[in-house]
Symmetry: C2
Subunit: 123 residues, 2 copies
């Protein structure tokens, strides 16, 4: 666990401290599924402002924090910009196939519901 004495260094769980329950909780929200699906597609570090989300900036910040604290993403400052990336290696090592399974399920649901986005935003 990184100690966040420097406000520019954000707390992340070490790989061994990531828990399935926390990962599933992080993924159990339409907006967070949208964020994670976009990250998986882009395969790059993305700023929070990259995402076109139907929520306020403070809610967006909350969603990214839930994803970070559960171990789903890492957030790193580059200068004054916070960049986000999926922790795919960690997740695939701990739970092989889980992330792809959830992303496929999200895509299947979007197709079924006629929503072009990975998960229907209902909130």
């Amino acid at each position: 666990m990184t100690t966040a004495t420097n406000p520019r260094v954000l707390d992340h769980p070490a790989r061994d401290d990531i828990r399935l329950e926390d990962v599933l909780h992080a993924l159990s929200d339409a907006v967070r599924l949208l964020i994670v699906s976009e990250m998986a597609r882009e395969e790059a570090e993305l700023s929070c402002s990259h995402f076109d989300l139907p929520v306020t900036k403070s809610t967006t910040t909350h969603h990214f924090r839930v994803l970070r604290e559960s171990g789903v993403i890492q957030q790193i400052y580059r200068g004054t910009t916070k960049l986000n990336a999926l922790r795919r290696d960690d997740l695939d090592a701990l739970f092989p196939g889980l992330l792809d399974g959830v992303l496929e399920a999200a895509a299947a649901q979007s197709r079924r519901l006629g929503d072009p986005r990975p998960a229907a935003i209902t909130s």
Copy 2:
């Protein structure tokens, strides 16, 4: 959606009304993962009292209700006994491979943490 005018008939979402976000939320709890893992192993209708859970009876009832309302399980009265079964056909039709992926991840985590149960009970 079944109308619950008869208290012995419990509300369940129809297959088309099951949402991935609700399923992931239902599975994002150690006790509920334990219940679902046991159901998957037994492949039978099980009463709530079948499960040896480290929580009170009212908490147990809550967990089963979350599982039912999300579409993960069905609960049916047979006489005065409430029996529980996984909605595997519905889940596999909507989200192929998702349930097995989560159950495998739960088993992997238990092995990793040295817990003999499907998911470590931490609460």
